[in-house]
């Protein structure tokens, strides 16, 4: 019996206006333990795709399933299967770093013992132990982003949706994040990651989805996209330029 994909996006069309949809007939899936890179120019529809998956926007056509369930069928279970890291950190000014982690853990039903273990590990990994009792308003942008990342990882759901996670992170933070994502992946979690730093994600993602003007123009492993473009030795960055600029 084949495994159910963690995320299935079938024939998705959607956007802010029915007359001018941003996304056109998007189809892709993410398997358990897979890291998929979603790449595209600004305005290609990456964030809109993520908003649809998160349930912040309703599809005009098509459907999205997480762990085999749509949001309408089982909203609470759908949301417990996803953790999201937004492009810009969105924190509660009234909470400290630890309180953010605790609020997230309580929301996702993580038990106390697990929470203590995971939070200690994440705080150490992201060099935030000495900031644990700081209010979020006293944190730098990079630190705020680290809190967002730690909140997602403390929940430990089957699917992570991560939008431009490297923005504002210092080199140590980027390394810690990449290492931790690999660890989550090896434990069976799936990651849908959007980033413009193609040279970095080339080495970490199993597959790539290239979005251009709301349409998927290529998807597959690096080798599959190389074959599709007809450039077997090209890097992801070169392939991307060829795909979005028509080879210019």
């Amino acid at each position: 019996m084949s495994q159910i994909p963690v995320l299935e996006v079938n024939r998705l069309s959607g956007g802010y206006s029915t007359k001018r949809p941003v996304l056109h007939d998007i189809n892709f899936h993410v398997e358990p333990g897979e890291m998929v890179g979603l790449i595209g120019l600004n305005g290609a529809g990456k964030s809109t795709t993520m908003k649809h998956i998160l349930g912040l926007m309703s599809p005009q056509q098509g459907e999205i399933r997480v762990q085999g369930q749509s949001r309408n069928e089982a909203s609470q279970s759908y949301h417990s299967s996803i953790a999201f890291v937004p492009e810009s950190p969105l924190l509660y000014e009234e909470l400290t770093v630890r309180e953010h982690l605790e609020f997230t853990a309580r929301s996702y039903g993580v038990d106390r013992e697990q929470f203590e273990k995971r939070s200690e590990r994440l705080l150490k990994l992201f060099h935030m132990t000495d900031k644990v009792n700081s209010l979020s308003m006293h944190l730098s942008k990079g630190m705020r982003q680290k809190v967002m990342i730690m909140c997602a990882f403390i929940a430990k759901p089957p699917l992570y949706i991560i939008d431009e996670p490297f923005l504002g992170l210092d080199p140590l933070g980027i390394r810690s994040l990449l290492d931790f994502m690999m660890e989550m992946k090896s434990e069976g979690s799936s990651i849908l990651l959007s980033s413009h730093i193609l040279s970095t994600i080339e080495n970490y993602c199993d597959r790539f989805i290239v979005l251009h003007q709301g349409v998927i123009i290529a998807q597959g492993t690096l080798a599959e996209i190389q074959a599709q473009v007809g450039r077997p030795d090209a890097t992801l960055e070169q392939l991307f330029y060829i795909l979005v600029q028509g080879g210019e």
């Binding site: 609470q76 996803i82 969105l90 509660y92 400290t96 309580r106 929301s107 996702y108 038990d111 009792n133």
Partner: protein, 411 residues
Amino acid sequence: MDLINLRKRRRAAFWGDVVPYLGYVIQSGVAVVFLFLLIAFSAWYTSFVRHIPDHLPTNLIMLIVLTPLSIYGSFRTYLQAADVIFLLPQESRMTSYFAGSFRSGVIYKFAGLSILFLTLWPLYVRSCDDPRPFLLFWLLLLAVKIVSNYGAWQELKMVFRRDARLFRLLRWGVIILILATWLWQPISRALIFASLLMITYMLSLRIPDKYVVGWDTLIAAEKAQVGRVMLMLSWFVDVPAQAQRVYPRRLLGFAGNRLPWKQSSAFPYLMTKTLVRSDILGILIRLTILGALIIWWMQGTWLGTAVYLFFVFVLGIQVSALRRYHAESLWVSLYPLPPGSQRQAVLNIVFKIQLVLSCLLWLPFAAALMGENPMSQVPLVIGTGIAGILVTALYNRSLARKWLKEDEEQY
């Protein structure tokens, strides 16, 4: 760039946003209750002034009532976050922009102080053995207000927050000393002392390091001011959520930590933390102290019962503003929590806090039982306590209905 006009345009835009809500404020029942209480207070105050008790500590009352408004100094600069980029090149010319803010800060607050002074005046002249001349008193208050606002303005420009905190304490001390000297010492001596103290204080303001324009502090202060206006409007009508000022209050950091560790306590946890670090807590404490004083004064009377119930009701309105916090937060939509759990968490907090405060406020009313003929006071004291609990329960029920309807309309 015409900076004076820029400020005027921003002020007009702000009030253009706020004025449409004022109609709803006037229409709301709360405004009528306020009006009713104002009339009741006027009637009580007139009768009180006619029959002033012997040995009333008038000077102390004047000092306690006039000090907060004399000290309080805030400014509307209408600055926006992007000004750090776009107005920074105009920094040396910003004096003309801020002159209007300083002027309005003094004029409106002095108008409020003058109304308070005029209200207190009949009590003061009738009960004080040696009252100060009206005009001289009023001019001294004007001088104190200008000095206080100037000090508050300088504090906003200070480079180090520690300096600003120290100078705020110094300003409070200076103003309390000036008012106290004026009330208790001979006029000529008090005037010389006040003048010397004001000059020394103004000179001392030159010592700390200051920015030409304290952009970050001013922008944060403006954000807090807008948040406060919107918070007040939200007591009467739905307004867009605004970022509110956050207070670290480390001593209260433990609040919420002992909530049971389960998914359903996630929102109670978030909202409890929010409450203890928000403006609402400060307002609740101030209102409870003010209410307790007035209720103690009117203990054992029907008017005291009315004032007690009014304070219980107003405190409920204050806590219910918690509902506006995080209402539009992304995480509220994304986290796997049952729909309506935030509404339920806020309702529970409103009920608990209002109940505790209604019990606290009942204590000064129940002090009537310690006076002469306590048995005759028992029915009124007990009845007032029960009425307080009833107001709390009924208010919570009406909130539950209103918020449920709002949520149903939204989804």
